[in-house]
Symmetry: C2
């Protein structure tokens, strides 16, 4: 931690309850040098220097005359960047090892579940059918493509490679990881998709990635491909995905993020036999894991330095 | 491969159909120096030098007057060692990377599925319930114990450790793997079990391990522990496990091996809500993967050398 520590700057926690109160309590214990308070617009707003935000309502951040910076707690900044009249202050993200650990666990689980045909085995158990499924390739014969080569994508890629999978990464800019094939830019997207037996999205939601997984993109995938979306619902064109599932061009989709959350109870995803739904639980930050990087980030701002993970308003992440 | 190659020794393949014919066809193509034939007692039996066996019937091996060695294709030799009047010839196993790769994939899948509470999420999807499950520890906070520190157990242990799990191994004799706690012998079994939030059996079935997971052993596990048995059904006392599942001392069991296979359709495991059944598919050998080590093993026998993986009749594996 920096030598010069925060001396009680005020951070307002703008998270849905019960998480807001939970984070406020635990962060206060962990970081006594910082004055945390739950979001409450009836309080003294000019004391607030920072907001720790998930999905602030339109106008909320504009009520803070002395706001120095916005700190987003999840992996993506899209919920803040989409605000009208966003205050002209820096926006920082808090990537930390616990977040990518959890995300990688989720990715490995669902890749292996698809790869080893576990849902078919579950169905067989329901029918009391004893039958080995063939063919069963090994991980070394299976091509996985990850969209997004950031803090989360790179970690998941290495973990998948360690298990033996053939892993490729696609991202806006070129990335370089030993033993992992890298594609970049719009021109190489089709090429990357065409080899994805299992496609994973860990992309940030930006104007460029909005509905990136369109009818056209999905048609580039090999027949029978599976999709795992653990980033943002907006990456996927839901109607296109449902059509691809119904024609069995896509064999399975595992979705942790949706355009509207909680996913409305009448959404066709819920009952689709080849869709797995999880409630945005792939990688949930904990106060304990966030505390050190939050402290470091605030300390840098307080010392007029630039923290390591600033969001670019142009790039959108 | 050894310089001096097999010159058409005859290997009889004693496997259930359709696997026998499948292996015969593919091994014949891969290894033209060896004369493979499917098991057929009406043929000329004195030409047969080797048997590649899964589960030979009582007396079958005694019909071969010139048998030089028995070669078992799976990980365990129990199906051969249990035979009465077993011919007094060496018994070789064929452990190879493909086998442990497949087993490790199976272990990782089911450990992660238990660890990340995926079956509960599946139930929630059936009920259209959107709810994050707490608490959700990370792999780094989860204790896994593997019984069996052989070719399969050691590989799975390293893979689990690489993902971040706390891994311990227990085996008859002491083993040593960096970063992995090792327990050994009967005296340390209780100690190993007492920390196993997820217990994995990769043990060979021997007189010492028969029903090792008894009522007493299961009671040593922490409340809510889960079990994965990917070795032999005989390791588990089925009645004891069912009782532990019903009292919820054991929260879940994933079983790939059973005392009787296929698992009889009236067995209570099939419909138990907390039991996952797979049809002995965790690690199935393929002719392609077996061919090199089979060739090497036969070549050693033909050259009067000892192959690397001889079964000890005393140890039972």
């Amino acid at each position: 931690l920096p030598d010069s520590a925060p001396k009680h700057p005020v951070i307002a926690i703008h998270m849905p309850e019960p998480w807001g109160a939970f984070f406020c309590e635990h962060l206060s214990k962990k970081l006594p040098d910082i004055n945390f308070r739950s979001w409450d617009t009836s309080g003294c707003l000019d004391e607030i220097s920072y907001v720790l935000a998930v999905q602030p309502a339109e106008g909320d951040l504009n009520k803070l005359p002395n706001l120095k910076a916005i700190i987003v707690i999840g992996a993506g900044a899209d919920h803040v960047l989409c605000l009208k009249n966003l205050p002209d202050v820096p926006i920082a993200r808090l990537p930390q090892p616990d977040m990518r650990q959890r995300m990688t666990e989720y990715i490995l689980l669902h890749v292996l579940r698809i790869h080893r045909q576990q849902q078919q085995y579950d169905k067989q158990q329901d029918e009391k059918t004893w039958k080995m499924l063939f063919p069963q390739p090994t991980a070394t014969e299976r091509n996985i493509v990850i969209l997004g080569a950031g803090y989360l994508g790179r970690h998941a890629a290495v973990a998948l490679k360690n298990i033996g999978f053939q892993v490729s990464l696609w991202s806006r800019r070129s990335s370089d990881l030993e033993g992992i094939k890298s594609f970049h830019g719009g021109k190489q997207l089709q090429q990357a998709l065409s080899k994805a037996e299992i496609l994973i999205s860990l992309l940030p939601l930006t104007p460029q990635t909005d509905k990136l997984l369109s009818t056209e993109a999905l048609s580039c995938l090999p027949k029978g491909a599976a999709i795992i979306n653990a980033s943002r619902g907006g990456i996927v064109d839901d109607d296109a995905l449902l059509r691809s599932l119904d024609t069995e061009h896509i064999s399975a989709a595992v979705l942790d993020a949706f355009t509207i959350e909680p996913l409305p109870s009448d959404h066709p995803y819920w009952e689709h036999p080849n869709v797995t739904i999880t409630p945005h639980c792939a990688s949930a930050a904990t106060p304990e894991a966030v505390a050190p990087i939050l402290y470091e980030t605030v300390a840098k701002f307080e010392n007029n330095q630039s923290p390591d993970f600033l969001v670019s308003r142009t790039a959108g992440y």
